[in-house]
């Protein structure tokens, strides 16, 4: 008899989702209450996972795995979701999309990501992926009276369903050519002589690259980010990417272990293309949400560059990168939720012009976050990029390193342009004054972490390396 207790985070999550759903239905206007309960659920989940952090085991005839690697990613997802709920609370209420279903659907997508990360079996992986994606479609079209939000939801749904179809096709081919859905067995059987498995791997890579919006499967990103309500965009930009990178690493390490030569070429191309497109296409953007969409494409490119080296230092550097990416994006979205003028949330770059006169603290935090996004020392973003390039150069992939550095320089242009708009352009009307403890704490925490990371930069790297070696 397998010990079901080891499956505890997922079981706890399912039961609490059902309970919050009932609470939401039976109390009227229960958005506030449900959100508070969801905070509690997220915090207790973090504690549950920390409780058995280092235990490594497999359940359900090896189709579910849990070890320190998956636990690290689960905690990262929980932290991201927690802070996003905090910073979006006010925005949601003011835009009258405060259905109690919003936090519940958010939790369901977290459940999907948990299953996806822990899956050691193609069927379970696919179910987790679908659970997560279905929740995201609903979230994208949550503001249903807004035409743009509807468009975003529909666009994301159709394109993502297509990508899921391709991924499923790859899964069925992989099952056909290795006669197993278990990752470990596939890892043994899918070698370079197994041509069908290589063919299947390409399809699975396409599906996964779509989910983390890597070039050339990025087309949906700017439209969906712009159309969806800002609260949902912030979730899209942070949490699913973490899950996507975790799944990428798991796939490359376990089932496609022996096919490294083949997937490395593909990943190098995807990562190069994402870095360059993320840098070049963001230059012309005037909408902040679109700009963040392109910048996130670029950042995913850097994270994938680390994975494409297929070395321990490469994997750990991309995990460090995605962790710092979460902190930076939480910070920048906290700023977006502070930018409200005459009762409306601003989304354009020119709304930022000259805000340093009226809002010195907001501008200095934006300065820190943008410098960090651009990868300028001594902020955390620099160390993230530094580790990536170190591992890439160690693996002697000089072209990738040079192109990556060049695209960093190009992308620095548009980050610095925002800083120029904030500090040196004509003074605009001040933003509305409002106090929100959650948003300011998040912003403060994010800028503090980014600004003080240089004190002991190798801490995270060492932590992550021990995770992978376990």
């Amino acid at each position: 008899m397998e010990n079901i207790n080891l499956f505890l985070p997922e079981i706890f999550l399912v039961l609490t989702i059902l309970a919050t759903l009932m609470i939401g239905v039976f109390f009227k206007n229960s958005y506030n209450l449900v959100t508070k309960i969801v905070y509690g659920i997220l915090v207790s989940l973090i504690l549950i996972i920390l409780n058995s952090f280092d235990e490594s085991f497999k359940l359900f005839s090896d189709s579910y795995t849990s070890n320190s690697f998956t636990n690290f990613f689960k905690i990262l997802i929980l932290i991201g979701t927690f802070f996003i709920l905090i910073i979006t609370q006010k925005f949601i209420k003011e835009n009258k999309i405060n259905n109690f279903e919003y936090p519940v659907v958010l939790l369901l997508s977290v459940l999907g990501m948990f299953i996806m990360i822990s899956a050691n079996d193609l069927i379970l992986f696919y179910l987790g992926l679908e659970l997560q994606s279905l929740a995201l479609y609903i979230l994208a079209s949550l503001d249903r009276n807004n035409l743009k939000s509807n468009e975003a939801g529909l666009k994301y749904f159709i394109l993502s369903a297509l990508a899921s179809g391709l991924l499923l096709y790859g899964c069925s081919l992989l099952y056909g050519f290795t006669s197993s859905t278990n990752f470990d067995v596939i890892g043994l059987k899918a070698n370079t002589k197994n041509l069908g498995a290589i063919f299947a791997m390409v399809f699975i890579l396409v599906g996964l690259a779509f989910k983390i919006s890597a070039v050339p499967f990025h087309m949906w990103t700017p439209d969906v980010y712009e159309g969806a309500p800002s609260s949902v965009t912030s979730f899209f930009a942070v949490v699913p990417k973490v899950a996507g990178i975790a799944v990428f690493i798991r796939f490359m390490q376990i089932p496609f272990n022996q096919l490294a030569d083949h997937w490395q070429t593909i990943l190098i191309f995807i990562s190069l293309a994402s870095m360059i497109l993320g840098a070049v296409a963001a230059i012309g953007q005037t909408n902040i949400k679109r700009l963040i969409a392109y910048s996130s494409i670029g950042h995913i490119g850097f994270a994938l560059a680390g994975i494409s080296t297929n070395s321990v230092s490469g994997y750990s550097s991309s995990i460090v990168y995605i962790s710092i990416y979460v902190v930076m994006n939480l910070g920048i979205f906290a700023c977006i939720f502070l930018m409200k003028r005459d009762g409306k949330y601003c989304e354009n770059l020119k709304d930022l012009s000259g805000i340093s006169k009226h809002h010195p603290i907001l501008s200095i935090s934006l300065l820190i976050i943008l410098f960090s996004l651009a990868g300028i020392p001594p902020f955390a973003g620099f160390f993230a990029k530094f580790y990536i390039f170190m591992s890439v150069i160690e693996s002697k992939m000089y072209t990738l390193a040079i192109m990556g550095l060049l695209s960093t320089v190009i992308s620095a242009f548009y980050y610095l342009r925002i800083i120029k708009i904030i500090y040196f352009d004509d003074v605009n009307k001040p933003f509305d004054k409002f106090k929100d403890l959650g948003i300011s704490t998040t912003l403060l925490l994010s800028s503090l972490i980014l600004a003080t990371f240089f004190v002991y930069p190798s801490y995270l790297n060492i932590l992550v390396k021990t995770l992978i070696i376990n």
Partner: protein, 210 residues
């Protein structure tokens, strides 16, 4: 054995006959009803060859969901009377050549499949399917679905729940200003609060809602 043959011919004649009626009947609603009859008799045939799970699923999914959905669509679109039916209509339909080509291709494919069946032992290893004669299909499915794959079954359930939540969130609107019956206030009304006795002067009347 005789009963078995009798039932087989009974259900197959019904299914073939109703399939013909589906494509020939003028009234689309009737066609959908014949489609349901066809599904039911095919479900019975499945049960006769021992695939009782497939038969029941046929009933639940095709009859219970798909055919009833067709019926709804037909009734909503109001296309009950079909004008062009190529058996009986006087006008010639332009779709017949295309339909014939497609059906000839399908017939050829069926022939290829039937021909290939002769060599099936070469590429399908039936011994992989470890069928236990004592257990029914439903038992066998249940044995793996609720033990080895219980977590997948549960996750699939959660996905369905999420789909339901999503449908409600995205379509349910609370309409403003709708007058509904409130049983509680209705029943809790008393004579004192609802009846007012007024003395009416002649030629003056009373103000209603006053």
């Amino acid at each position: 054995m005789l009963a078995h043959t009798f039932f087989f011919y009974f259900f197959s004649i019904i299914s073939v006959g109703s399939a013909l009626m589906v494509i020939t009947s003028r009234n689309t609603v009737h066609a959908v009803f014949f489609l349901i009859l066809d599904f039911i008799s095919i479900g019975c045939l499945f049960i006769m060859i021992g695939a009782e799970f497939l038969g029941m699923i046929m009933l639940i999914v095709y009859v219970g969901a798909v055919a009833v959905l067709f019926l709804f669509v037909v009734m909503m679109l109001n296309v009950a009377e079909q004008k062009q039916s190529w058996f009986r209509g006087r006008e010639k339909s332009a779709h017949i050549p295309v339909g014939l080509i497609v059906s000839i291709i399908i017939l050829a494919e069926v022939l290829v499949v039937v021909g290939g069946w002769k060599y099936k032992s070469n590429f399908i290893k039936t011994e992989m399917l470890a069928v236990d004669g004592n257990l029914t299909n439903t038992h066998m499915l249940g044995n793996v679905l609720y033990t080895q794959y219980i977590h997948l079954f549960q996750v699939a359930g959660v996905i369905l729940l999420l789909a339901m939540i999503g449908a409600i969130v995205l379509t349910y609107t609370k309409r403003q200003g709708v007058k509904t019956q409130s049983y509680f206030t209705q029943l809790s009304r008393e004579k004192k609060t609802s009846i007012k006795l007024v003395e009416v002067d002649s030629n003056k009347g009373v103000k209603i809602d006053g």
